[in-house]
Structures are given as C-alpha cells and as structure tokens.
Amino acid sequence: MHLLLYVLRRIIQLIPTLLFIALVVFLLVHLLPGDPASAMLGDRALTADVNRINHDLGLDRPLPVQFLLFLRNLAHGDLGRSIQLHESVLSLIAQRLPVTMLLTAMSALIAVALALPLAFLAALRRDREADILIRGTFQVGLSMPVFYIGLLLLTFFGAYLRWFPVGGYGDTFAGHLYHLFLPALTLALSLSAVLMRNLRQAILQVIGAEYVDFARAKGLPARLVLFRHVLRNALISTVTLFGLQIGTLLGGAVVTETVFAIPGAGRLMIESIYGRDYPVVQGTTLCLAVVVSLTFLLTDLAQVALDPRLSR
C-alpha cells in the first residue's frame, strides 16, 4: 500500500517533468534553421510554395499558439501526423520504439553478462594478471566512441567473417535477435566497462567490511559468503548506476541504429530531424523521455528492494 502510493506519487511527479521536456524539445526544433517545406522541396524551391506548405501545416502561426495546440492534442493522446511520412506519429512510434527497446534490452543483458563475472574475477584477483588484463581491455573499450566500435565489429564480424548481417532487422523474432546482436554488443561494450569498474570497486570495498569477516567467522561456506554477503551488498550501487545508464544506452542506440541501418526509434528521430519533421521529433523525444523516467522509477524501486535501510 505504502509502495503503491509512492509509485503513484512518482508518476504524478512525471507530468511536470514531461511538460518541461515537451517545451524544451518544441523550442529546440523550432530554433533549428530551415523548415519542413524547404527540406521537402530542396534548395531551388520557390518561396511561394514554401510559404503555402508552411501555412497548410500551420507553421506560420505564432510559436506559443503552436505549442498550445500541440499540448491540446497531446492531452487527447494525439501526437500529430508526420509531415514526411504522412502517417500518425503514434503509429510510427508503435512500429519503431519496440525495435529500440529490444536493442536496448539486449545490450543491457549483454553488458550485465559481461560485467558481472569479469568484475568478480578482477576483484578476487586484484592487481594480478587477470585483473590488469580485464581492466586494461575495458579501458580501451571505454575510450573509443560507440560508432567507431560499431564500425570495427561490423567490418570484422559482418563483412570479413560474415558471421552476422551488416544491417537490417530481419523478419522473425529469431531474425531480429540475430540482426541485433552486433549492434547490441556495440552498445553493451561501453556500458559493461562502466558497470565492471563500478562493481569491481564495490566488491573490493565490501570484501573488507567487518560483516564479511563476521560471516566468515560464522563458518559459512566461501561461496555463500561471496554471493550473499559480498555480491548482494556490492550490487546496490551498481544497480543504481545501471538504471541511470539506461538513458545513455538509449542515446547510444540512436547512433548505433544509424550505423547498422536498424529501423528503430533512434533512426526515426535522426531522419525526422533532417526532414524538420517537427511532430515526429517531438513525439519520439517525449516517448523516450517517458521510457527513461520509468527506468529511473524502477531503479529507485530496485534500490529500496535491495537496501532495507532506504524503505522508511
């Protein structure tokens, strides 16, 4: 009951945040030089044509009026229609967002699967060869930009070894997973480096804690001491970091989708920015903001679940 009220309160708090995001995005897209008509008609368009199209789209009205109209439609669950694609923004997002979510979820999974055992190994072999090798490798991974890693993987595993497709999304669910593997790995590498470093540090901190010695003094099997007393406590900070990184991951997905030609929300956003497709830019940004905010909420809930000292 207590928890339910908390969740409800957090969701209500989301509303002003989203309104603010809507305003910022609205201003940003309108501050961009150019407009949808010029983008559609190209450099040699006649001013009269441009003006006519902009008038038809209602883009010649004052900005505050346009923003209020946008909000009024939003309140009715209407995100408008795409200028370029002539489809409702909502249905575009419904097609594209799941792709991005799958990509993000896959890379989050890969990142955790890489970081967890390696952090453990590095911490337990602190300052020995394994630790130095693991940390060194991740340091390199962390210092390279996502799109560059993506291109490297694409060239090697896609073009050279031909183990994975170099782009596209596939038609079946298995096909999706297959097509998304390389891009997900690309995204996962930098996240796993961040998680690995954090978790290794946390494990080293916890391993020297008195309660871990006390657990040993109780005669618990080493495995139980490691998992129940060390890892359980070390994970608290890493889970928080993980939740906060989901936003970064989504940002990375935008770039990765472009590199790997994946029809996700990220690429939709980039294309609509080029085309000055205002409704689509605003709609996708808002949806991604909702997703990120919900992950933050889940992160906070996970933290309370992991650390009873917080649930007061």
């Binding site: 804690a209 010695d213 657990a215 003094a217 109780k218 005669g219 129940r228 009873p308």
Partner: protein
C-alpha cells in the same frame, strides 16, 4: 563446567607485507585457553590483540601471513583445509567483533543472519532453526524475539546489536568464544550487562572465552587469567590476582598505575610516557625499553624472552624482580 576442549597456541606470528617492508603484527605468541576459562588479552591499540584473535581462525586477509600452531581438538587450525576450518568456525569456535554497527550485514534480517549459522553447523530444519533463533534472542535478552527476528540491524540500538551478534555467535553452541573488545563501543551501563551476559553463558555452556580488551577494569571484573601484549608480543601472563597485585613487567605496572581506582585514596594518575613504537621500526632489544625507567644496557642488546617464574606466571623482562620489588619509578 563440562570437560571441554582447550586451545593451545604456540609461536603464532602474523606478518603483513607492506610497501615499507614486512611488518610483524604478532610475533611468536604462545598461550592456552582451558575449558570454561576466561583469558584476557590486554594491551594498547596496535599491540596485536585483535590480529592475534583473527589469526587463530584464519580471518587474516592476504597479503597477511600467519605461522605457528593453533591446536584445537587435536588438529592445527592453521593447516586445516578451508572446508574443515569453516566447520570449526562458528560451530566450535565463535567470534564476536568490536563494532556491532559494522559487523552485522545491513541488508539482511537478523533472523536470516542467525539462521545461516544454524544451517551451516546443525541439522535443524527450517522450523527448528526458527525456534532456536527465538530461544537465542530470549537467552541474550532481546525482548519480543519473534517479531525482532524480522528486523534489520539498523532497527536495533548499539547494545541490542551487540546482543544480536552474541546470539549469532552462540547459535551453534561453540566451545570457545573469541571476543574482540565486545564492549568498547557501548555505554558503560550496557557494557556491564554484556559482560555479565558473556560470563553467565560461559557458566551455562562451559565454554572458554578469550576476551580482548584494553580496559583493565573489564579484565578485573571478568577474567581468570591475563596475557599482556606489547608491540606484537606477550610480555607478561598470570592469574588476574597475580598480575594486579604484583606486576613484574614495567609495562604492566604502567598500565595498572594509569587506571583510576574508585574508592582508593587520592593518588596522582600516572601515564606511561611516550608512545608505542611503530611495528615497522621496533627498537633493538626490549620493545618497551625506550619508555622504561628500569631499562639498562642489557635490555637494548637482545629482546628478552618469556621466563616462567612460577606455574601460570611468565614475564619477558630482565629486571622483573626489580619491578616486583617496586624499586625505581614508574615511567
């Protein structure tokens, strides 16, 4: 008291590799603990008391190295494989720590923290473990045991947490309790309760106790025998009466004269001059030499070994007769 097991420690040394060279925190310490006996391990901070205790049951982290022999129940704990050592730890030899605030896992209920001990050392089933946990909470004086088992450590006061820790340590009826300054972090009134609790459990369960403390008042009130440590070595051992009535090491004498005694006639409180030496830079000869008013050239030549001067009475001082005769001034 039942015929229990004794612990025999011979030549225990614990060394830590540091960037500045090896530091010997515990240097050739030997003592024994008999069943039902309370042995006090006394000394200033950094004298090696806690490290000694942790070395006994393999709680020294690398790069620390422990050597010597710790004989318990016919086996040397220092060379026991980790699985068998785990069975001794918590089952036969339990340990309680100084800081009840940090020694309990903050994210697990205290009930679970008791139960995992029972699970490791007994064949009790879930329901029986629960019942035993309630019984233990009653034993150490935590009211409303059933409900409190569901609580987390932060929901207890300091004194109550120390009781929780004792309950956890005693869960599997250990034969020996290693207590590392169990009352230092507590209020004086709570201190007294906890010590009384440990003593009554000693009587009830017939277990031996090693009580590490820097508080001579605690020693006088609880211990049967005392071992005084200085700079990683035992410098004097004896019964509480012998040590308090006639210290034969200048350091012990200094410790005793720096304790205020209630009810005695007013006398100036004497402090031991100087500070304990750094373990990485021990003076040649007797480590206490530079702070000792009895010291002569002979003290600087070689570190004096422990001499047995009477049954249960040892001292590592060339001038122990002079100290006993109370000549010279306490430094």
């Amino acid at each position: 008291m039942t015929g229990g097991l004794s612990l025999e420690v011979t030549n225990l040394s614990t060394t830590f590799e540091t960037p500045l060279g090896a530091v010997t925190a515990v240097d050739g310490v030997s003592f024994d603990v008999r069943p039902g006996e309370v042995l006090g391990l006394v000394g200033e901070s950094g004298s090696g008391k806690s490290v000694t205790l942790r070395s006994l049951i393999g709680l020294i982290h690398p790069p620390g190295k422990v050597s010597g022999r710790v004989i318990w129940n016919g086996q040397d704990l220092l060379s026991l494989p980790s699985g068998r050592l785990a069975r001794v730890r918590g089952g036969e030899i339990a340990m309680i720590f100084q800081e009840p605030m940090t020694a309990l896992n903050p994210v697990l209920t205290v009930g679970l923290q008791i139960e995992e001990n029972l699970r490791a050392h007994t064949a009790l089933d879930r329901g029986q473990r629960r019942a035993r946990a309630v019984e233990l909470f009653d034993l150490v004086g935590i009211p409303d045991a059933k409900r409190r088992l569901e609580n987390y450590p932060h929901q207890f006061s300091g004194g109550m947490r120390q009781r929780v820790m004792i309950a956890i340590a005693l869960a599997s009826n250990p034969r020996l309790l290693l207590a590392d300054e169990p009352t230092t972090a507590l209020d004086v009134t709570i201190q007294d309760q906890i010590l009384k609790l440990i003593l009554s459990l000693r009587d009830e369960l017939g277990m031996g106790v090693v009580l590490v403390t820097h508080d001579l008042g605690v020693v006088a009130a609880t211990c049967d025998r005392v071992a005084v440590m200085y700079a990683g070595r035992i410098v004097e051992t004896g019964t509480v009466v012998d040590i308090f009535d006639g210290p034969r090491h200048a350091y012990t004498r200094g410790l005793l004269s720096s304790v205020p005694r209630g009810g005695a006639e007013r006398a100036p409180l004497l402090a031991i001059e100087g500070t304990p030496p750094a373990l990485s830079a021990l003076p040649p000869g007797c480590a206490f030499g530079p702070r000792c008013s009895f010291a002569t050239d002979a003290c600087r030549d070689a570190r004096p070994g422990l001499l047995t001067i009477a049954p249960d009475r040892q001292v590592a001082c060339l001038h122990h007769d002079a100290v006993a005769a109370n000549r010279g001034q306490v430094a």
